[in-house]
């Protein structure tokens, strides 16, 4: 078929480099996938019982767009900031949270400033329709620098997107840094989308929403109860102030009506188990992380600063990446995040084994 219309659609697609940004596999799909964001912990039987029980009881119909009330309440309770359940929008995973916040708040804000190094999903979300984007320089931890944030705000940016911890390195802003960023945002009457999805894996990742006067200008986003074995169930959240909420809820309705009920009921149960089981998971991963760090040191790799126990980021040459690939391991390439020469490894026994190939 000769179709100019179709060709124009395809040409527009090929020229949209943001949309074509390759994303790392979002989760482990084989035992040697080191590009995942969290280890696949076993799913608790109670989660299965609650979710399947809800389906058997007939909760198989549409539910409210922002989520079932008990899950919204559980997420609000889990967040340390001053959000109520009415501020919580349950999303079909983390990427939907990125998309809704960036596109909906970003449109009204006239654009968004994002770190030069950020999760590829951020670029993809930006690329779905034209949006003014400013890139902010990052420091050695791959976090946007204070100077870059200040410059963006002085240039008129009204919305910034930050990850803390970084999705690449696991490094987080300190409390003093977060406080300083909050002050800058308030001084410029600007807002922030704060990706805190890795925060549960770190004991040093304060949320900007907890800073005085910041709840009203912050949308926090993340995976719901990470480590519960629900990564493939696609369940995330946005918590946002009243003024930002309606357009995102409306767009959520337009895109999906609601989030899958089986996932929502599972997450309700995961919330109950989270407080008692997550500390043990973090401790377990902390020990495993020490082993992976030792293996990296033995391999002569330079490790980037990071506090999240689920991942480590190391500098690695193309040849070393190839060695791992040849040995059957895949990693998250820093190039996809905007940081060539760095790779992210899932903290796991497999990661320690993989690094032995480089020693």
């Amino acid at each position: 078929m000769t179709s100019q219309t179709r060709q124009k659609i395809l040409d527009a697609h090929q020229s949209n480099t943001s949309l074509l940004t390759p994303a790392p596999d979002p989760m482990m799909h084989n035992m040697h996938d080191l590009g995942a964001e969290e280890m696949q912990f076993p799913l608790d039987e109670q989660i299965i019982a609650t979710s399947s029980g809800a389906m058997e009881a007939g909760h198989t119909h549409y539910v409210p767009v922002p989520g079932i009330p008990e899950l919204r309440e559980a997420i609000a309770t889990h967040l340390s900031a001053d959000y109520e359940s009415g501020h919580v929008l349950v999303t079909a995973g983390m990427q939907e949270a990125r998309f809704l916040t960036i596109q909906l708040i970003g449109k009204d804000a006239g654009g968004v400033a994002i770190p030069a190094v950020t999760h590829p999903g951020v670029l993809r979300a930006v690329g779905t329709r034209p949006l003014a984007v400013t890139r902010m320089e990052v420091d050695e931890r791959k976090l946007a620098t204070s100077d870059a944030i200040q410059s963006a705000l002085e240039a008129g940016t009204k919305l910034i997107y930050l990850e803390s911890p970084s999705r690449l390195t696991g490094a987080a802003y300190s409390a003093d840094e977060v406080s300083a960023i909050a002050d800058m945002l308030k001084a410029h009457d600007a807002g922030v989308i704060w990706d805190q999805g890795f925060a549960p894996w770190s004991d040093a990742a304060p949320s900007i929403a907890d800073m005085d006067g910041m709840t009203e200008r912050t949308a926090v986003i993340g995976e719901a109860f990470p480590g519960s074995g629900l990564a493939s169930w696609y369940i995330g959240y946005i918590a946002a102030p009243d003024a930002w909420f309606p357009p995102m809820q409306s767009q959520k309705q337009i895109m999906a009506i609601c989030t899958s009920t089986a996932s929502q009921y599972a997450a309700v149960e995961a919330a109950k188990l989270f407080s008692e089981s997550h500390t043990a998971r973090v401790n377990q991963l902390g020990k495993q992380r020490d082993i992976v760090l030792a293996a990296a040191q033995e391999a002569g790799l330079s490790v980037l600063d990071g506090s999240a126990v689920n991942v480590i980021a190391v500098e690695m040459s193309d040849a070393q990446v190839q060695t791992l690939t040849d040995a059957g391991y895949s990693v998250a390439s820093g190039a996809d995040f905007g940081s060539p020469g760095v790779v992210r490894l899932l903290v796991s026994t497999a990661a320690a084994d993989a690094l032995k190939h480089l020693a």
């Binding site: 078929m1 179709s3 100019q4 219309t5 179709r6 659609i9 395809l10 527009a12 697609h13 074509l20 979002p26 989760m27 482990m28 799909h29 996938d33 696949q40 799913l43 989660i47 299965i48 979710s51 399947s52 389906m55 007939g58 198989t60 119909h61 549409y62 539910v63 999303t91 079909a92 983390m94 990427q95 939907e96 998309f99 009204d108 804000a109 999903g121 993809r124 979300a125 690329g127 779905t128 329709r129 034209p130 600007a190 074995g229 493939s232 169930w233 696609y234 357009p247 409306s250 767009q251 309705q253 337009i254 895109m255 999906a256 009506i257 989030t259 899958s260 009920t261 089986a262 996932s263």
Partner: protein, 385 residues
């Protein structure tokens, strides 16, 4: 920083649902949510997947076994050959499928022709892209037939696509095979894309038949089609649908899917696999129930003197209530407040349809009868006052 949010038509409808739920005896005949629960074997398969596959990797385009099952279904039901590797993307329900198709094809300033009345989400999805919806009116005296000759009249140099829905929502008309071919001919002639919403393809009545645009000559290469399991298998809460189309365009849909939501719940996908590959008797049972309910509802509407397009398919009827002297918003609100019956006001679909209401037959027969009796009583009071 954030501008004031103007409520969409859908949000108005959702507010009415919320109000209806305040009444213990409410009969909700507005929303397209079947009253049947998801069949047991599908729930059982989901539970099994929770045990066996909870942590499996999910590619953005969905699990291959599910895409293969969809290809088989589309071949069997719609007569279209699809390559499951490249021509199908799994979505969070038909709604996300529609959004991805619209975002894949349209850009700011583009025009898309849509027979009117139409489901308000089409407009909402187009609004995201900045594209413009161009309506082509249809009327109850022709059972809301979308006439190809009327579509021709509104084509401009900005027209990029036609969105064709059969059976239609809310008008319940079915596009005949001859008209499907005529629309394809128009698309070829003017180099337009076709977006086809086939979500009600299993629900057609009397002697009507559903014809997929991709099944006729010249159709497949310029058509993106959506479908979902929500209506046919009573799986609205699971959120599982798909887009199919030519591989090159589907690559764009896949990238958009990755950008918008990343992937689709693995549990919903295994539930969907069981729906498509398991026993189909529940679908037949539901379709038969809708046939009976449709007759009950049409008999009642006739008794009330309402003018409507005979629903040739779908799960609802779109009826003219102008004889009451009220517009649809007033009428629907009165029925909700006084009869505790929720019907959707046509005004929420478009301003031009403020004389219409949409009523589904997604309630048990006794409830439909009860709803109709309550409505009659309110209308009798109206006539008497």
């Amino acid at each position: 920083m954030v501008k004031e949010h103007k409520k969409t038509g859908t949000e108005i409808l959702y507010a009415m649902i919320a109000e209806a739920r305040q009444y213990d005896d409410a009969i909700i005949m507005g929303r397209g949510d079947p009253d049947f629960d998801t069949p047991e074997h599908i729930v059982a398969a989901a539970k099994e997947a929770m045990v066996q596959h909870a942590g499996d990797y999910v590619p953005p385009e969905g699990l291959l076994p599910l895409r293969e099952a969809i290809a088989e279904r589309v071949k069997r039901v719609n007569g279209v050959d699809l390559d499951p590797a490249t021509e199908i993307v799994i979505t969070n329900g038909g709604q996300e499928a529609l959004f991805l198709m619209v975002a894949a094809i349209l850009s700011e300033g583009d025009e898309m022709i849509v027979p009117e009345p139409n489901y308000n989400t089409y407009h909402d999805a187009m609004k995201f892209t900045g594209a413009v919806k161009v309506d082509v009116n249809t009327y109850p005296d022709t059972d809301f037939r979308a006439a190809p000759e009327d579509v021709r009249k509104v084509i401009t140099d900005k027209t990029k696509a036609m969105l064709l829905v059969s059976p239609n929502n809310p008008a319940a008309s079915v596009i005949s095979p001859e008209d499907v071919q005529a629309f394809i001919d128009i698309a070829q002639e003017h180099d337009l894309m076709i977006i086809s919403d086939d979500i009600y393809d299993l629900f057609v009545y009397d002697d009507y038949t559903h014809t997929s645009f991709a099944s006729l000559p010249g159709g497949k290469e310029r058509t993106l089609t959506l479908n979902a399991l929500s209506k046919a298998y009573s799986m609205t809460g699971w959120r599982l649908g798909w887009v199919s189309g030519p591989g090159e365009l589907m690559a764009r849909v896949r990238d958009l899917k990755a950008a918008v939501s990343g992937g689709t719940s693995i549990i919903a996908q295994y539930a969907g696999l069981a729906a498509l590959t398991g026993p189909q008797e529940p679908v037949d049972m539901m379709a038969e129930a809708y046939r009976r309910r449709r007759k009950i509802m049409l008999d009642a509407l006739n008794e009330m003197g309402m003018v409507y397009g005979v629903p040739q398919g779908g799960q609802f009827v779109f009826a003219d209530i102008s004889f009451t002297g009220m517009d649809s918003s007033e009428f629907a609100q009165k029925m909700l407040t006084e009869a505790h019956v929720l019907a959707y006001p046509g005004a929420a679909f478009s301003e031009a349809r403020k004389d219409y209401i949409r009523m589904t037959f997604l309630q048990p027969e006794e409830k439909i009868r009860e709803a109709v009796e309550r409505m009659k009583a309110v209308m009798k009071n109206m006539a008497g006052s």
